[in-house]
């Protein structure tokens, strides 16, 4: 086992724990970023540098920034925290909690099945990733492309601005 | 797009222009003679103080930086007992110069008054008085005003007739 892997994995687990337990949502998101970075290091040590970098660019660099961007504007204070505490009754969290425990048990079972450490780390260069994506997995790439296209068209439709013929001040006057 | 490149090129050409800066302590900018800088108290041609302690400058001062106390000598000639200008307040507006009826207070083209200690910017009368007549040479308030002072009685001033003796019947 590589010492880098152990440190990175430890950081990832700790940071993820803090994401769940952290009271302040902004701090929780920051811990999530740290966790993603640590996972990227894990991927790097196990021979998937392309994957690791994509994880940083897309998850840590774009998606998390957007989430933080929205949280930043919500102005969540103590009041909302109190509200959430009131909502969080056992009736609500018990079913998802049970499901989570089932998942955890499954994960532990799978981890315990395969005890020998990963041997013979093989570094996957970006070229090989590209070959795989546009070779055997072409249909998946195309489907993702269609999905993203639909997303872009939807976003354009939602964000489209109708051309105003009237000045906005005059518009208000017409209403009253 | 082209205009952006053009503006970049024009700014680049400024590299070869002459610089507009005066390297201040070595090269001083030429100041006009009527530049409003440090305030001074001038003297009349006889070497006496021109200030008559009328308080008009202190009243005109928008920042209240002038304070003085008028007094009289034994011959009835008024002069300031103390005259104090706080230059850390002064804004060099020149109102005091305009208000002064005797041309005593004048602004000089000197502005280099930096001090490490703020208190050093409070100028007393002996700091302000200069042995010069400033911008109005030859002007002497008491020589044109009908006031009796030492060595000059009423009616002895320039362009002045002796006072009419109202108790006499002679024309």
């Amino acid at each position: 086992m590589d010492i880098t892997f152990i440190i990175a994995a430890f950081i990832a687990v700790l940071a993820t724990l803090r994401v769940i337990t952290c009271y302040h949502i902004m701090h929780a998101l920051l811990y999530l970023v740290v966790s993603l970075l640590a996972v990227a290091v894990v991927l790097f040590t196990y021979g998937a540098p392309f994957m690791a970098v994509l994880e940083i660019i897309i998850y840590a660099g774009a998606i998390m920034v957007l989430i933080i961007f929205f949280v930043m504007m919500l102005n969540l204070g103590l009041e909302t925290a109190e509200n959430e505490k009131a909502w969080l009754r056992p009736r609500i969290w018990i079913v998802p909690g049970v499901f989570c425990f089932v998942l955890l048990a499954e994960l532990l079972y799978l981890i315990l099945q395969n005890k020998q450490p990963a041997a013979g780390i093989q570094i996957v260069p970006p070229k090989q990733v590209g070959m795989a994506l546009f070779g055997p997995y072409l249909i998946a790439v195309e489907l993702t492309g269609i999905l993203l296209m639909a997303g872009i068209v939807g976003a354009y439709h939602l964000g489209r601005q109708h051309k105003k013929t009237l000045h906005r001040f005059l518009e208000n006057n017409l209403d009253t | 797009m082209f205009s952006l490149l053009r503006s970049m090129w024009l700014v680049f050409l400024h590299m070869f222009h002459k610089r507009d800066t005066y390297q201040y302590p070595e090269h001083k900018a030429p100041l006009p003679a009527r530049w409003r800088g440090r305030i001074a108290l001038t003297r009349d041609p006889d070497g006496e103080e021109r200030c008559v302690g009328c308080y008009l400058c202190a009243a005109a001062c928008p920042v209240d930086c002038i304070s003085l106390q008028a007094t009289e000598d034994e011959h009835g000639r008024r002069y300031p007992e103390f005259f104090r200008i706080n230059f850390s307040r002064c804004i060099f507006c020149g109102f005091c110069e305009e208000a002064c009826p005797t041309y005593a207070i004048q602004l000089l083209p000197d502005f280099e008054m930096s001090e490490y200690n703020r208190q050093n910017l409070v100028y007393e009368k002996h700091d302000l008085l200069i042995p010069s007549q400033g911008k109005y040479p030859g002007y002497n308030y008491y020589r044109v005003a009908g006031l009796a002072i030492k060595d000059k009685d009423k009616g002895e001033a320039e362009q002045e007739e002796p006072p009419v003796d109202i108790k006499s019947l002679l024309p």
């Binding site: 660019i57 920034v65 970006p126 | 002459k18």
Partner: protein, 317 residues
């Protein structure tokens, strides 16, 4: 191993000194283009202004506002310097003088520059100040959008040189610099690079005439200094990347050693950045975003498409 440590230390030393020196260089160059002298008193050509500025920053009161989120407030300035310094890891200064010779070099650069957004967002948010928050919002959207075009414009170079590795990219430019076949890509990369470092035509996150100082309005002392250094390091980084990707990196006539060529080219581009600052007005925020998504984005896609098509055609010939 010892050699690697020497390279790391040397690069770090050179970079931090360059960033500090840029304080002086920028002020002198701006003064030159505005018919002034700039700092010329302290030391020869006013060079010691760097020392004076640094000392001043160190001795200023390091104030954390009571309404700020303290941990994040302290953390944010460190991110900017760290992320930019990490990006320098992959830049080949000369054959063999590179900290990490990775086969995903270009992607690593993009990843690190995407992490740079955090300093702005967190700094602005933690300051708990309206102007800072506005600056952070602008900064976040600007940097995320322009990163897209930056990545896309780079891909043309990657297609031409068959590699993400910057050393191989430089080697591939032996015959002709990539600025010739990739002129469009170079221009887009340049614009995106300015937006990414939020330098002056595109400095809307800190637009001092609208937002006081934007995301670092509440910062003082060395924390502000970190943002400052981060900005200058960012300029150096983008200049170095432009040189490596489009202007042949260390390549040049042999009468000068390769590293000197690299430094000369990089400083030319830094001067170009300063010239841009001296000559350009700041666009409005929505103009910037519109320009990015409606002009640069299609152009960079087109550039990539055409480059790939020509490359395929050349291979099949």
């Amino acid at each position: 191993m010892i050699n690697a440590w020497w390279i790391i230390g040397g690069v770090l030393f050179a970079l931090l000194n360059t960033a500090a020196g840029l304080i002086w260089l920028e002020r002198r160059m701006l003064a030159l283009w505005q018919d002034r002298y700039g700092p010329n008193r302290a030391g020869p050509f006013g060079l010691f202004i760097v020392l004076a500025d640094t000392l001043k920053l160190f001795f200023k009161e390091d104030w954390i506002p009571p309404f700020a989120d303290k941990v994040v407030f302290v953390f944010a300035p460190a991110v900017v310097v760290a992320s930019v310094l990490m990006s320098f890891v992959i830049i080949p200064f000369a054959p063999g003088i590179v900290v990490a010779d990775m086969n995903i070099g270009v992607l690593f650069f993009l990843a690190m520059s995407s992490l740079g957004v955090y300093s702005i967002v967190l700094g602005g948010w933690a300051s708990n100040n309206k102007y800072s928050l506005l600056g952070a919002m602008r900064g976040a959207s600007q940097m995320i959008s322009y990163e897209v075009f930056m990545g896309l414009s780079l891909m043309g170079v990657v297609v031409l040189s068959d590699s993400f590795n910057l050393q191989k990219i430089v080697e591939a430019q032996r015959t002709v610099w990539f600025v010739v076949p990739q002129l469009l890509g170079f221009l887009i990369f340049m614009v995106a690079g300015i937006a990414e470092t939020h330098r002056l035509p595109f400095d809307i996150p800190e637009a001092e005439s609208e937002l006081v100082a934007g995301y670092h309005a509440e910062y003082s002392g060395m924390k502000f200094g970190m943002f400052f250094i981060g900005e200058y390091l960012g300029i150096t980084l983008i200049s170095a990347m432009v040189v490596t990707l489009y202007f042949g990196g260390w390549l040049g006539p042999t009468f000068l050693p390769p590293i000197i060529w690299f430094v000369i080219k990089t400083f030319l581009f830094i001067s170009l950045f300063i010239l841009l600052r001296a000559s350009m007005p700041r666009p409005r925020y929505d103009q910037l975003m519109e320009y990015g998504w409606k002009v640069l984005f299609p152009l960079s896609l087109l550039n990539l498409l055409v480059t790939a098509a020509i490359k395929l055609w050349l291979i099949s010939e």
